[in-house]
Amino acid sequence: MDMQVARKKLGLKERYAVMTRGLDWTPSYQKMEDIYPYMSYEGIKIHDWDKWEDPFRLTMDAYWKYQAEKERKLYAIIDAFNQNNGHLNVTDARYINTVKLFISGISPLEYVAHRGFSHVGRAFPGAGPRVACLMQSLDEIRHAQTQVHSISNYNKYYNGMHDFHHAHDRVWFLSVPKSFFDDAITAGPFEFMVAIGFSFEYVLTNLLFVPFVSGAAYNGDMGTMTFGFSAQSDEARHMTLGLEVIKFILEQDPANVPIVQRWIDKWTWRGYRVLTLVAMMMDYMLPKRTMSWKEAWEVYFEENGGALFKDLARYGITMPKCAEQIALEKDHLSHQAWSTFYNYAAAANFHTWTPDEDEMAWLSSKYPNSFDKYYRPRMTYWREQAAKGNRFYNKTLPMLCQTCQIPMIFTEPGDPTKICYREVDYRGEKYHFCSDHCKKIFEDEPEKYVQAWLPVHQIYQGNCFPEGTDPTVEGFDPLAAVLKYYNLESGRDNLDFDISEDKKNFAEWRGQATRNI
């Protein structure tokens, strides 16, 4: 970029003040509480909205200018990638399954984030936060669109991505990220800002984007790397706003502190559970590894989050208690998650496989306290069985956690040999939880979480078959009917990578690209 920089007549601070202050007015014939009806019920007290300031001091005119520049860079690279069959340059075809996970699990959340920020921008009476929410709302829809554009090139050649949004709204494990964001946008505006702006964007986003994007860079995926970086440049602004939100709310009134603390505790845990998908992606799905989940957690949460919570201690905010349990889980999370997806490969929109010897050696070195003892025997056994023609596909539906909607696969903190079960009786019904933290979130707001759309319950109730299906006929295959409802083709979009069309095609096309045949 060779931008012409015209010296501005006003300094940055003055320009920001002019563009974000005095834009509103005091209504004369409507009551403030009728115009901003969501401002009081969460219990947060705001005395002076003008105390809110975007530390980047970005104004709309500058926003358009830099966003346009980002788009020009991005689309130039997407074109180059497509024109040069960039998809054949990735390390190996297993990598493409991370892209499938991303488009069906993450991109739809960008769109929901767009809606969420439009909504809260409207709900806040202060002009500063309204401008910030407007920018973030536009960023989020840009992310959804650019991700769809970048990944559409993979969809031309590989399976499982053809109806990603349909899948997002239906496929069992995709209810994990979906319900996370649905939970956030159905909360009040302040809770949404703490949930997404702070807990997700500030505390956890580095664990989502940096691993995916540097994973793409390590694995030769220029397309994904570029949209990732383009989105990430916006994320840096979102993170800054997330931190600003927290400081602003806490400084406005001491009564806000315990409310905010409860939200931070809740949303750090909720977000962490969603990142289970990222953990297994990093440790099992990237043919060329970047860093282990455990290392990423240590750098981006323990070190960086530690610094953050030390900084917030002056307001009386403490590190969420769940951090202790997460520290105990970091040796186990990705292995337990991948084991589950290996089991349920018949019901997913991507392929799974067992790690090879080199990959297991890498896992042993990164997880010296857990991999060889608990997980290597399991992976080895599955591999041997697959070699004998007994590739195991689990067709029994698992029990789900009522809060995070993840199957009850996690082990007791401190005892990786025992599955962790918690339950609560509420109005004559029994509810199940994967952990004390998910249980507590339910107990704080049972009326919200009893309404959860749990995929397994819905399948058993007959709500996940194509219209007109008769489950009572002789020889009815429930999984086949569910896959039809998901719009996934059994044998092509699911099952083991080894027998996949993706693997076969990739090898053939790469061969054509390097030989004269």
Binding site: M1, D2, M3, V5, R7, K8, G11, L12, K13, P55, F56, R57, L58, A62, Y66, E69, K70, K73, T205, N206, F209, V210, V213, S214, A217, Y218, M225, F229, Q232, S233, E235, A236, R237, M239, T240, L243, T290, E303, N304, G306, A307, L308, K310, D311, A313, R314
Partner: protein, 89 residues
Amino acid sequence: MSTVFIALQTNEETRQIVEAITQDNPQAVVHEQPAMVKIDAQGKLTIRRETIEALIGRDYDLQELQVNLITISGNLDQTDDEMVLYWNA
């Protein structure tokens, strides 16, 4: 003191920006990772417009950094002349 950081895309525009940052912040540690540069610093990191301008030989608006920014950590304060990342504790 806690560590603040900034990560930038590795490209021709950021090469001199990284150089400017290391000039102005002797405590900064540069980690070159695939496609990105992460710069850690104890307590505080200052990015100065004038240093960048001297290295790139043209006027520079610190907001241009938005285009190549990947992530940051710490409280931020940006003016026309400086972008500062810091922790209070």
